[in-house]
């Protein structure tokens, strides 16, 4: 994730720097490389030592290892529940806030950041106290908790996406052409929000695949819980498993960035990657002469 973010910043800064004198520019470039290098070392060393510790053989053993299958399946199921619920709840909500309650945006930002600010341990104890009995014994409860945990990320992705195009005008154009609300949401808003929705999805999935505290307090053996449980038995295998998880998440993130920039190239408009929106002013800068 770190490399993606810095590569992106490098991208967006190019036009701003075009006018700088060459000397300062070179110094700036050197700085950028230094920062990249430090980041690479910082993130690279643990990865490298993990790889070395696990060894190649451990990777081949992960899949068949005891209870790995059920733990991974549970995590995938939770990821699915959390993603679907998050999108179904957050897409219409963020569109509504954007159009009808633009002044409450700050408030919404504050509200949606709460799950990050409040320690998970506090959240989970509260939830376990408050949840109805029929939910407590099922992993669905954990799915619901993950909806709450992913809210800050999902809301920010969607909000960035909504700010990347003129939602209000498009919605009104669609209405005036005879489309009601559901059709407008489905045919106009969501297609232009695709990258943001994908970001929200990947962030939610990544969060579910990595969350430990809630799952273990809830007594479910999700993938991260499994990694910790089996670290005592077989260190190399669990490290290999976590490296695999990291790799899969990283692939997903790369996928988003690629698809995002491809759709930005095709439809013009803004390029949305996770929380950032880079406006490409394609249509505005084109010549008016015909």
């Amino acid at each position: 994730m770190a490399t993606i973010a810095s590569a992106e910043q490098a991208d967006t800064e190019v036009p701003a720097k075009a006018g700088r004198p060459p000397g300062r520019r070179r110094r700036w470039a050197a700085w950028r490389w230094a920062v990249l290098l430090i980041a690479a070392v910082f993130f690279g060393i643990p990865l490298y030592s993990g790889l070395k510790f696990a060894g190649f053989k451990a990777f081949t053993q992960v899949i068949g290892y005891q209870q790995f299958g059920s733990a991974f399946a549970l995590s995938l199921r939770l990821a699915l529940i959390a993603t679907v619920l998050t999108l179904v709840l957050m897409v219409p909500t963020s569109v509504y806030v954007h159009l009808r309650l633009p002044r409450t945006r700050r408030f919404m930002e504050a509200i949606t950041i709460l799950p990050i600010v409040i320690p998970p341990i506090v959240l989970i104890i509260g939830v376990l106290k408050a949840a109805p009995g029929f939910l407590i014994a099922t992993p669905n409860l954990l799915g619901l908790e993950y909806v709450i945990l992913s809210m800050p990320f999902a809301y920010r992705s969607l909000d960035a996406g909504l700010r990347s195009f003129d939602v209000r005008t498009l919605v009104e154009a669609s209405n005036s052409l005879g489309a009601g609300w559901p059709t407008t949401l489905w045919r106009v808003v969501i297609p232009n929000l695709r990258t943001a929705i994908m970001s929200a999805t990947v962030l939610t999935v990544a969060l579910v695949l990595g969350e430990y505290t809630m799952a273990s307090l809830d007594n479910f053996q999700t993938f991260p819980v499994w990694i910790v449980n089996f670290e005592q038995n077989s260190g190399p295998v669990s490290v290999a498993a976590s490296l695999l998880a990291l790799f899969v998440t990283w692939l997903l993130l790369m996928l988003i960035v690629t698809v995002g920039s491809r759709s930005a190239r095709k439809h013009g408009g803004a390029q949305v990657t996770l929380f950032s929106v880079g406006i490409q002013q394609v249509s505005r800068t084109r010549g008016e002469s015909e």
Partner: protein, 369 residues
């Protein structure tokens, strides 16, 4: 562009809506406030079938609000909007059957030009084949057949607004609403597109409300122009009437170029201005007396290069057959005078000139500034 339009005419894409079967749009005493801001104040307006009425006024005078109330995106605090006599306030925007072209680019970025134009037909459950046929006709009509498969970001601003126009017309709207559709475009494209809008509108006979802050645009394109100020309609009349017989000082000064010259009121005879006595528009104003301001158009003034005249030329602007001369008169009054370019060769900055009013032509008067 013009050739393409001719092609469109030959292809016979003319109004499916029969001539004379247009819609009457009427706003009656419509008011709307946003907090303390009175955006619309008792606005009444009628657009006859097939007529193009422009709402003209400075930014913030309530034009967009009026249009949005008609379109159904905004509600009125009081007053009614009727279409062919039926009150449409309970009808949601999606069911009003009005075509709208927005000030900002409003094409759906995820659809090609053709799909944008076909969108309204899709909402009306037309088959894919009849949709694409109709979309192709309309794109031809606005001269963009070649761009049918392009996405909005691949089109220039002018092209995007033409697709937006085609999209609005595709649904054969009862009323066409245009909110400053040309203001984001550069001058040359603006001129072409406004002629195209007018000729399409006349051919299709669509009742149209056109909002703009550009008086030249309003005067050149409309059957009638409604001049707005602070949410109120100051005057609604044909362009010629507005120009020649403005009802208020605001209209007089907002429409066309108007000079304001100090004069004195002489009772029944008229006003004394620049050394001559001239009649007053619309008879004698009751509440005026003594020192007043006289309103005269640039073509209502005479100018002659004379040593020791009453003014000094400060600027000249070549406008083609006419040249506009700016003259500084005594008392720090600056006026603009039009003169045929051939006769204006010696009216250069610094020249001393004598400025007068054309005798016998009635002028407007207003209270002294």
């Amino acid at each position: 562009m013009t050739t393409n339009m001719a092609a469109g005419t030959q292809a016979g894409v003319t109004g499916r809506r029969a001539e004379g079967a247009g819609t009457t749009l009427r706003m009656r005493a419509v008011s709307r406030s946003f907090g303390a801001v009175r955006a619309l104040d008792n606005l009444s307006l009628e657009v006859a079938p097939g007529e193009l009425v422009a709402l003209l006024g400075p930014s913030g005078c309530g034009k967009t609000t009026a249009l949005r109330i008609v379109a159904g995106f905004e509600y009125a605090d009081s007053g009614t909007v009727t279409v062919d006599g039926k009150d449409i306030s309970p009808v949601p925007a999606a069911k009003r059957d009005m075509g709208m072209v927005f000030q900002s680019y409003s094409l759906f970025p995820n659809m090609t030009a053709q799909d944008n134009v076909g969108f309204g037909l899709r909402m009306r459950k037309q088959s894919a084949s009849s949709r694409s046929k109709r979309a192709a006709e309309l794109l031809d009509m606005v001269g963009l057949s070649a761009q049918a498969r392009q996405y909005p970001h691949q089109l220039s601003g002018g092209q995007q607004q033409r697709v937006a126009l085609a999209r609005a017309l595709a649904i054969e709207p009862s009323v066409l609403l245009l909110d400053e559709p040309l203001s984001a475009l550069d001058a040359k494209v603006r001129l072409q597109l406004r002629e195209q809008i007018r000729s399409l509108q006349q051919r299709l006979g669509t009742t149209t409300l056109f909002v703009t802050h550009d008086q030249e645009e309003a005067l050149s394109i409309s059957d009638r122009v409604g001049v707005m100020k602070d949410g109120r309609l100051e005057q609604i009349a044909t362009p010629a009437e507005l120009y020649e017989r403005p009802a208020t000082t605001f209209v007089a000064e907002f429409v066309g170029t108007m000079n304001r010259i100090p004069g004195s009121y002489q009772g029944m005879d008229g006003v004394m201005v620049l050394g001559s006595v001239v009649p007053v528009h619309g008879g004698r104003p009751d509440d005026l007396a003594g020192e007043i301001d006289v309103l005269v158009r640039p073509e209502g003034l005479t100018i002659q290069a004379t040593p020791g005249g009453n003014g000094i030329v400060t600027e000249r602007t070549f406008l083609g057959s006419l040249t506009r001369i700016t003259v500084l008169l005594s008392g720090d009054v600056s006026v603009k005078v039009d003169k045929t370019s051939a006769a204006a060769t010696d009216l250069v900055p610094g020249a001393s000139v004598q400025v007068g009013v054309v005798g016998g032509e009635p002028v407007g008067v207003t209270a002294r500034h």
